[in-house]
């Protein structure tokens, strides 16, 4: 049940952030520093999710560097994302690296 509440609540807030600027409630211009800071929100939040998902072991909760296939896969994915600019190809390349390395182990 609480999952449904979370979905509806976050859905409402998501709609709010999209609709608010189209409503008269919002000032037409925010301070420069705030506009600048907002540009860094997606990069910061997503990096903060990416890095632990690569380095922290799901089993132990500790940082793993040795024999961590995810690091290799992530590096490959970064290069592929840079050159292909495609979400699909990036996901596929990263997963294939994991599959191949697991298979070879």
């Amino acid at each position: 049940m609480s999952v449904w509440i979370a979905i509806i609540f976050t859905g409402f807030l998501t709609f709010g952030t999209r609709f608010l600027p189209l409503s008269p409630l919002m000032p037409e211009k925010l301070p420069d520093w705030l506009q600048l800071a907002m540009k860094f929100v997606p990069v910061s939040v997503l990096s903060a999710i990416i890095i632990p998902a690569i380095f922290i072991s799901e089993d132990t909760g500790y940082i793993v560097i040795q024999d961590n296939l995810r690091i290799v896969a992530a590096i490959v994915a970064i290069f592929v994302a840079y050159f292909s600019r495609s979400t699909a190809i990036t996901i596929l390349s990263g997963l294939s690296v994991i599959w191949i390395l697991t298979f070879l182990e």
Partner: protein, 245 residues
């Protein structure tokens, strides 16, 4: 009579060109939706929850963040705060588009607000700025938005249906960080953004000990502060160099 016909025609033209302009982007959207459908089930959401999240939330990054946080048993408040933080960029889109959309009747603004995603914004903002203006430009955003909405729902459903057939050894959960890598790499085109990404990532590792997954919000703030400050510094630096010349 003729006048009315012309109006209808150009509204339809705008709508169709919105659909068409949105089409190439679906190459990225459809696999993303399929991954979301698969991952949603994998982290323990029900098929219905996964499916309706795509229409209630209707935002790829926020939905995947939601599933990631659900998987790690994050408390409600932190989950809501983080998903909202991911969505803050929409305020920017809205502010850019409001110049063109503010005058529309409420029902139009409600509908277009709902449809204003990264992709629809990118496509329709191009149309608003590059081609000759018309009174029906909002139909373009309606078209690109509906194209995206439709593909997103269908691809989510495909993911939900195909998910259970995929064995766990495929480690599809790792598709989440991979998706985010694909999302942020194109935006790392200047140093402040790179600094922001690195500091947020390091902080996320450093603050793991915080309760309630609060490391996420702390790390995000580190990234935002470092990014903002470093772009101020680099702007001043560029100014100084130009003054010297």
């Amino acid at each position: 009579m003729t006048n009315k016909f012309v109006h209808k025609n150009s509204a339809l033209n705008e709508f169709v060109s919105g659909l068409k302009d949105g089409l190439p982007l679906q190459i990225g959207v459809i696999p993303f939706g399929i991954v979301f459908g698969i991952v949603g089930l994998e982290v323990g959401l029900s098929p219905l929850q996964t499916f309706f999240m795509s229409s209630i939330l209707f935002g790829g990054a926020s939905q995947i963040v939601f599933t990631q946080l659900h998987a790690t048993a994050t408390p409600f408040a932190v989950l809501v705060a983080t998903v909202s933080a991911v969505n803050l960029r929409h305020l920017l889109y809205g502010m850019v588009m409001s110049e063109y959309l503010r005058h529309l009747p409420l029902k139009w603004r409600l509908a277009l607000g709902y449809l204003l995603t990264d992709e629809a914004f990118a496509v329709s903002h191009q149309r608003y700025t590059q081609r000759p203006t018309s009174d029906f430009m909002h139909y373009h955003l309606l078209g690109s938005g509906i194209m995206l909405w439709f593909c997103w729902q269908v691809s989510t459903a495909i993911g939900i249906l195909s998910g259970p057939t995929i064995p766990e050894s495929f480690q599809l959960g790792f598709a989440i960080p991979l998706t985010f890598i694909a999302v942020i790499i194109p935006s790392l085109s200047h140093f402040p953004a790179i600094f922001s990404a690195i500091s947020a990532g390091l902080a996320a590792l450093l603050f793991q000990f915080l309760p309630f997954n609060l490391w996420l919000i702390v790390a995000a703030f580190c990234g935002i502060i470092v990014g903002t400050l470093s772009s101020y510094v680099s702007k001043n630096y560029i100014k100084k160099i130009q003054e010297r010349k």
